[in-house]
Symmetry: C2
Subunit: 317 residues, 2 copies
């Protein structure tokens, strides 16, 4: 197994990141190229091919297979990608078949949030777990569900949309069309906007000094650092995020009876105080028998989680 390598392709709206990954999830080499999404699926597919060729030409390794994490709904059997957001013109693309044909290698395509969950299962925080709820706090709030060591895909591979559970049915409008989705509170754009607004009323916060007043530079790690210095405002922000996430996750824990939550993505940069707040919030809300079983863990795949998650598809069956 030690000499087995796989290729992971993280297909994004702006960049395609491609990495050569060993069987323990370490990236040996990687490249990043433009997606050219606006030029349509043919161009994007040719960029993917070009990128993989470049990577393989410079690394003469025996490759076990190629994994692709893609936005949108993915049919596992057919290897097709349907209507991915940020990739215009993709009505339905047989991405798996095209890449298999080009490289003569088994190719596995999966939704990127699902690939992230499989990545944690194969290489990361889920290695020793049978079942967990993976939530990724980034620009949006994504998710993937592992049940008995398998990805729970639902009827059409769309399961795990944790960002679109409602915590307040009369809450703020979400871009999905619903109201009060977890994403409207915790998606990076909303969250940063909210925190900046509150910061303006809390000018004594350490965060002001740390940013030299340039609030645009705000990010979760700075809030975490300020909280470690005892900054009350920063501690409050982290507690709020954790409590809110917990309110949503409690519903999910109740319906799935899966009691471990793995948190990844940029907002996970809030660190331990976040995980503690999430745990406390879930425990306060979930049905009594579940309370002692609740565990909250940080995702282990941090940088390049997209590449690693995609490459893990090759090792997953």
């Amino acid at each position: 197994m030690k000499n087995n390598y796989s290729v992971g392709v993280d297909l994004g709206g702006t960049k395609i990141k491609i990495g050569l990954v060993n069987s323990s999830g370490r990236i040996i080499n990687k490249i990043s190229i433009d997606t050219f999404a606006k030029e349509g699926p043919d161009k994007v597919v040719s960029q993917i091919k070009k990128g993989i060729h470049t990577l393989l030409d410079t690394n003469k390794k025996t490759i076990q297979g190629i994994g692709i994490g893609s936005p949108g709904t993915v049919s596992l059997k057919k290897g097709t990608v349907e209507n991915p957001p940020n990739l215009p013109g993709w009505d339905r693309v047989h991405l798996g078949r095209i890449i298999t044909k080009e490289f003569g290698l088994p190719t596995f395509v999966e939704n990127d949030a699902n690939a992230a969950a499989i990545g944690e299962l194969i290489y990361g925080a889920g290695k020793t777990l049978n079942s967990f709820l993976m939530v990724t706090l980034g620009t949006g709030v994504g998710g993937g569900i592992i049940y008995n060591k398998k990805l729970f895909r639902g009827e059409n591979g769309g399961a795990g949309e944790i960002g679109h559970i409602t915590i307040d049915h009369h809450g703020p409008k979400c871009k999905c069309g619903s109201r009060g989705c977890l994403e409207t509170y915790l998606g990076n754009n909303y969250l940063t906007k909210n925190v900046i607004e509150q910061l303006k009323k809390n000018k004594s916060s350490l965060i002001y000094d740390m940013l030299n007043g340039d609030l645009k530079k705000l990010n979760p790690r700075i809030i975490h650092e300020a909280s470690l210095e005892g900054d009350k405002f920063a501690i409050g922000v982290i507690n709020n995020v954790g409590t809110t996430l917990g309110h949503g996750m409690a519903s999910i824990v109740n319906v799935f009876d899966i009691s471990t939550v793995v948190i990844g993505g940029g907002v996970a940069g809030f660190g331990k105080p976040l995980f503690a707040a999430v745990k406390k919030s879930i425990q306060a809300r979930v049905l009594t028998p579940l309370r002692p079983r609740i565990k909250v863990r940080q995702a282990k795949l941090k940088n390049n989680a997209g590449i690693k998650g995609a490459s893990s598809l090759v090792l997953y069956d």
Copy 2:
């Protein structure tokens, strides 16, 4: 198969209902006896035995097995029931083993809400479905999830607690300890109380006449009948219930990617207008690709659904 019979035991806090059921889910004979829950598990178990003996003595049929639908958390492997609400003193009872020993028949124990979902799968609205979300609107709001023809049990058999997903995290306190659970809006007690309060302000509603002013006699069927007569108040109540249920179900549909909802229990007596309102509400909230796929169906197991669901456990594997 036609000559195969099974016994279904619906273990409730007040009554134990036991039926002899044929392989298409028809009850051939049934009895109802007191649970004597307050006298503890030994007494309850002896009541179950007594009831089954009585039923079998009067019906000389070849029995394939015994199914028991029980409140509380059930371990399928061990056939144990843990801390069922309304059954005091049941720390952990090996119900399956005890009944198998007594009758020399395979015995299957399952949580009652899960048994109801399996009942629909084997005999009812789910016969032709691969996957569905079953929700039972009764005193509480229960649920069970069928995925690829199998019950989704979660880590400890507790999955499917649809009544305890939050639709408003700052909403009314639920007896489970959380806030804004679906059950706090739709459980029969809360619902009836709310509707009676509103009725007092809407004395022109037909419902007043239909009840001869005795609001205590209010039930879902009367509200349904009034709505069929065009009573605006009744139509409003049904729409509200359907819309609220839809707000909760949309979250569940998003995370499970299961797009068929089967509704049973007393409140399902609201009939077609309820199912239409639920469907409309889910479609307005769920992620775009799921919208055209949403189906809402009425449960087929109505009277004695508890007995039928329990007996179906024998046919399910």
